[in-house]
Amino acid sequence: MQRIGVFVCHCGTNIAATVDVKAVAEALGHEPGVVISQDYQYMCSESGQELVKNAIKEQKLTGVVICSCSPRMHENTFRKAAASAGLNPYLVEIANIREQCSWIHKDIATATEKAIILGRTAVAKVHLNTPLNSMESPVVKRALVIGGGIAGIQTALDIAEAGFDVDIVEKQPTIGGKMAQIDKTFPTLDCAACILTPKMVEASQNERITIHSFSEVADVKGFVGNFTVKIKKKARFVDETKCTGCGLCTEKCPMKKVPNEFNMGLDNRSAIYIPFAQAVPKVATIDPNYCMMLKTGKCGVCSKVCSAGAIDYKQQDTFIEQQYGAIVVATGFNPINLDKYDEFAYNQCPDVVTSLELERLMNAAGPNGGTLLRPSDKTHPHTIVFVQCVGSRCDDEKGKPYCSKICCMYTAKHAMLIREKYPDTEVYVFYIDVRTPGKNFDEFYRRAVEQYNVHYIKGMVGKVTPKSDGKIDVQASDLLANEQLHINADMVVLAAAIEPDKTARPLATMLTTQMDTNDFFTEAHPKLRPVESATAGIFLSGACQGPKDIPETVAQASAAAAKAIGLLCKNSITCNPCVAHSDELMCNGCSSCEKVCPYGAITYIDKEFRMPDRTTKVRRVASVNPAVCQGCGACTVACPSGAMDLSGFSNSQIMAEVDAICK
């Protein structure tokens, strides 16, 4: 006979203001099997939990129903409390009468009625709950960091520092990411390369860190503590172990007209290339789209000049498979494509550039050696217009609904640097709002305005028109002065919105993590678990989770590392016991369940059955590996005989819930 205890939480007034908690406790007390039904101010408080624990002991409860907030909040709290009182934690059910009742309804009578039904439903389910015991699963003491930008590097360094092996997978030939392309950083105006490259070197020299550059994640299997990841090492046609990075091949390569992606295509590189001087690993890579040898079989200059014999035109993509206990995603961001922004003439006029292009134009290692010249005629620009929020805070389909967060500050930085270096240049910044919430940020912006006399104009640029004389007509409105402006500019710089890297979406699918509609990874909790994904063992680092500047990225990278270290420190983790299981007596061995299992958790065995007539029969039956099963339940519906069921969410439990709601 069941002895169920019901505990109704007031949650202060969060529940009690709209739900008559006393009436709920009273009504549920009449449900079959319920031996005690109480209400209390804060069930999740120490004394609230004590109430539950005492009831379990005194009333010898076989099941507990807590009518409170969402199980996503406190299910674990109450399960732990039950366990400490000697009741199996899976004999606890939560009726969500806060998020799904009191907070959404206003009328006390109907909200109370609904709360009673929700409570009754939980009671009906708990009648059928069975004690479940968690299995232990070992943790592989190695982490994978996907992405080798500042976020990935920082995370890897921190994990390695803690004594764990860590691999970085970077799709580019070098680590460094976006930060390597940036000239100066705000609000300190120190050189990005100067602070980044030592970290890159540190990563490459740390014996616990393995860098897989020019590599991609091809497949992810497994689960927290035990992921199996297939890494594709793309053919770079250069033997990494032999190449010394001397750069002779890049000098001698006859194919020199390859757009240099590191400089945003503003200059050219050779077909065999090292992205930049401080690249890590400093190893050449052949671009098969341009290499004459690979395309036509004629050339071979690089091979001839390479004294190390590192060139290998026959190199193929290779795959390595590695076990990891934790995975950190640090796939970063890109500026959005501005093809659709005809009004800014980005595609028509070479002197309309993005902010990242401007970074390269101003960088000493950039196309102009650090002198700011117009891309079109290499002349010094005298009037520069900055356009903010290009594609950010947009309602239309071209842009992004969110604020890209970093643009206001880097534009202030650009404006200031230009005014500092070229005082004869007039700088206009068109903005919707200037957002500077950060340490020393507003001071920085005010310096741009007050000290450097940058013209900040609140208003949006309507149209950018290249003129025949090489000038650019910028038509804009000044919202404060309420007038239309025409500025005769030499250059226009667009603060393009940033978006997650395109590789993030397929990666999220492989990792079974969630993304929001903008393809940013979703954190497990927006406030309390900002660096974990909802999928156990997958952590988030940097701008893949949302727009961030460098200090924020580094902070989050270290936080993600701390979370990963916390996991790697454990020898084993407790598995979710709510997994599928097959009733062998009913299983037909038809393989339907196996086909829908995303984890390959189901295998088949030939099992000998003793028949009632004392004969034996060998049948093929499904067998679930509870350590691999994640409990989605796809198999339970694929199974026609109902042999497959899911602990914690069994057919009978769900039907009991349906019955309780409908009665």
Partner: protein
């Protein structure tokens, strides 16, 4: 069909734990109202919803059944909602083939971030079911409330 005065439909919503249930919680957190008619059953994934459960709900007195899951591609279990989509499409098509009103069943993708969508969906679905009136074509007379 004639709409009964003050007809309050019973609506069962199956919500996946990772997206839609969280979406429902979010609509609560944001105090976004939707009708009390909707009662949510938490399932790990929308692919856990067996057609049996849907029929059972109609048998026991539900007037509408809605299944909510993660957006395609966002499934916590990678592929669960893709299977859901096929199964439920076929099931709903079959119910339609048997002459059961189309608006009694629905499948919606609601992410953990879409509290407003959850509330709006439930509001709309409740209205649609109200317009249909009580479930008569797929009810079990024995379960009809006296």
């Amino acid at each position: 069909m004639q709409v009964k005065e003050n007809f309050e439909p019973v609506i069962v919503a199956f919500c996946c734990n990772w997206c839609s249930y969280a979406g429902a919680d979010l609509s609560g957190t944001n105090r976004l109202n939707y009708p009390t008619n909707v009662k949510i059953i938490r399932v790990p994934c929308s692919c856990r919803v067996n057609p049996m459960f849907i029929l059972r709900a109609f048998q026991k007195g539900a007037d509408g059944v809605i299944i909510c899951g993660c957006h395609p591609g966002d499934c916590h279990y990678t592929s669960g909602n893709y299977f859901t989509r096929r199964r439920i499409t076929l099931l709903y098509s079959m119910l339609d083939f048997l002459g059961i009103e189309r608006n009694r069943t629905r499948l919606e993708w609601v992410s953990a971030a879409e509290g407003a969508k959850f509330a709006a969906t439930m509001q709309q679905f409740t209205e649609d079911v109200k317009a249909l009136g009580p479930n008569r074509r797929l009810e079990d007379l024995r379960c009809r409330k006296q």
